[in-house]
Symmetry: C2
Subunit: 373 residues, 2 copies
């Protein structure tokens, strides 16, 4: 199956639209890069949409074209895996505003023939979901068997259930939240200011000479990366270990392993991500507040449909802590929606959803299996 062309087939659909964005702009046409795995059933009833996180992409279980690394959730998606591509038709879409083939600031503005840069309209999580729905129309999929995602991917799954309740039978929401907190916004604002502080950002018009604001983007990534890891995890992995066995250098090189690790995270990120896309997607996250979209009451977001929900949080996740998942569960209870919820133990903080976790595998396998029965 792994040699089959159907496994990890990358395509880009150019859909006429128009896509009416939350900000009021009509986007047309809309490029949507996506990847599919497995076969769509004759009744199109076995489609699972996997939604990616802030800096993710549609290469969920196939090699990344830039880094050559395995897909970001290859351990979850594949033949015989929890999201089993022998049974399900799996779709993963590069979100609107990103930089891996879907329309975003680094893509061409058809009205001018030039790259959008900061003229690209500000988008929301719901806009990303609307674009995905357009793609499903294009693919002839009326209703998803499931929408699944962690972090920002979980927000998309929630937004799917709230925006198109008739089109999604179940939603799996992992390490996520129904809104960005003040602290979440604060960290993203640091990242945006770091990018904009880089003199090479130039108001976003940096594409022509291939000299992007990589220093600022690396700093943004470093700051964000700290929030993806738990304090205990950082201590266990690095503590105060030095780079060399020798003493401190009494200089400003990376003496500590954690410094070197963070610098590497920043530097490797800039090779695969666009700074303007980082601005747009963090903005979409900060704007996300599902209750606000529904009259200020989160339960109202879930009153129209019969979507089943599965929520998972991790006990050391301080970016989107368990309390955020609990808030969603309470709202689902108030709306009378079926929901299962579990907090898993992990030393790895927010990043736990991407890592080896037999418990998470069991939860997802069980939840999807129950949906078939």
């Amino acid at each position: 199956m792994l040699d089959d062309a159907r496994f990890g087939l990358s395509r880009t659909a150019t859909l006429p639209g128009p896509l009416r964005l939350d900000g009021g702009v009509l986007l047309s046409p809309v490029d949507i890069a996506y990847e599919t795995y497995g076969d769509l059933a004759p009744d199109a009833g076995n489609a699972i949409l996997v939604c990616h996180a802030l800096t993710g992409d549609h290469h969920v279980a196939s090699e990344h074209p830039v880094t050559g690394k395995p897909g970001w959730w290859a351990r979850m998606v594949g033949p015989g895996k929890p999201i089993d591509t022998d049974r399900y038709f799996v779709i993963c879409v590069n979100v609107l505003g990103s930089c891996l083939g879907s329309s975003g600031p680094a893509s061409v503005n058809p009205a001018t023939g030039k790259l959008w840069a900061m003229a690209f309209p500000v988008i929301t999580i719901r806009d990303m979901v609307r674009a995905q729905a357009m793609l499903l129309d294009h693919l002839g999929i009326a209703k998803l068997f499931a929408a699944v995602g962690g972090s920002m991917g979980g927000m998309q799954a929630l937004s799917w259930a709230a925006t198109f309740p008739e089109r999604v039978a179940s939603a799996v929401v992992i390490a996520s939240a129904a809104r960005h907190s003040a602290q979440n916004i604060a960290f993203h604002e640091v990242g945006r200011q770091a990018i904009m502080a880089d003199h090479r950002w130039r108001g976003g018009d940096y594409y022509a000479d291939n000299d992007p604001p990589s220093s600022g983007l690396a700093v943004a990534r470093m700051a964000a990366h700290i929030t993806y890891l738990s304090e205990a995890g950082l201590t266990a992995k690095f503590g105060r270990k030095l780079q060399s066995r020798d003493a401190k250098t009494f200089g400003f090189d990376a003496d500590f392993q954690v410094e070197s690790y963070l610098r590497h995270q920043g530097l490797s990120f800039v090779d695969r991500f666009d700074a303007n896309s980082y601005l747009y997607i963090t903005r979409a996250l900060d704007y996300f507040d599902l209750a606000e979209e529904h009259g200020g009451t989160l339960a109202n977001a879930f009153k129209r449909g019969d979507t089943r929900f599965c929520l998972v949080s991790f006990d050391t996740d301080w970016l989107y802590p368990t309390s955020e998942s609990r808030t969603i569960v309470h709202a689902l209870n108030a709306a009378g929606a079926p929901v299962s919820f579990v907090e898993l133990k992990s030393p790895f903080g927010h990043d736990a959803f991407l890592l080896e976790s037999p418990e998470l595998d069991r939860v997802i396998t069980g939840f999807l299996g129950a949906g078939e029965r």
Copy 2:
């Protein structure tokens, strides 16, 4: 008393040294800017050294010369206040490496006649303490009644007790730690990289044309500032409140109040602080590990003296959480040192030690009073 010239008397001592730094360099001469309040007793037995935090200064209870704001601990230090300048002779020293008058990267290198910039030697918390001890020699103070500080100031108080146990009768250590954790180092490394990413940093040689790396320094301050506040405090103060009553702008201006607040914190900081000093002092903090200086066992740091200790932590401080204070208390217990410890409740996170806190006032008043008896 407030009109008395003795209240908040700013001076700079140029001491011949040499000061032997932990990095091996001999610094000579050493400029030390300091401020004193109250009168030194004839037996010089009523001196309290107040130690400031990362971006603090010696203007503990007098107007800041740049911002015009009241001293950073004016609520704690003054006539009739917990650190009572009617009874104690209070000294506050601008730490070595800082930029308010003490020797640091923004001061003149006597060997070249030019500003040090990054040629200034990397310093440690213990070096700061050694410089303070030289000043006490100069002032004729053999033994401190107390060394008191919050955050990095608390580390200096700890280092005083470990380095000069015979010269400090009591130490008050508030919201502090005996070593920087991996997460502490990580946040500081983000700040340093933000400064160095600013093209105006130029390897630290930015003094000549008055064009400092203010964008990078502002980003560094923003990232650090998040760690000074609790998540709950940010939510209570800002939540998702917008700047205007109107809807979101769908742009990249500061829509949310928390964004505007953080930007203000960054911008106002660059007017009063030097970017190179920020590099040096964060480095000193990251290097701080009192156990490492004493054979890997923290208790060894406290076995030589008879200093009394008072430790205070705040329950919402996630920069130097209560567990760090507890580690110190356990080491003091193991060393047989007298210690009182309390965790105070506060919604304000790490910054709580700077804010109105009647409980903290009572703890300090009681502890200092007991020391007189």
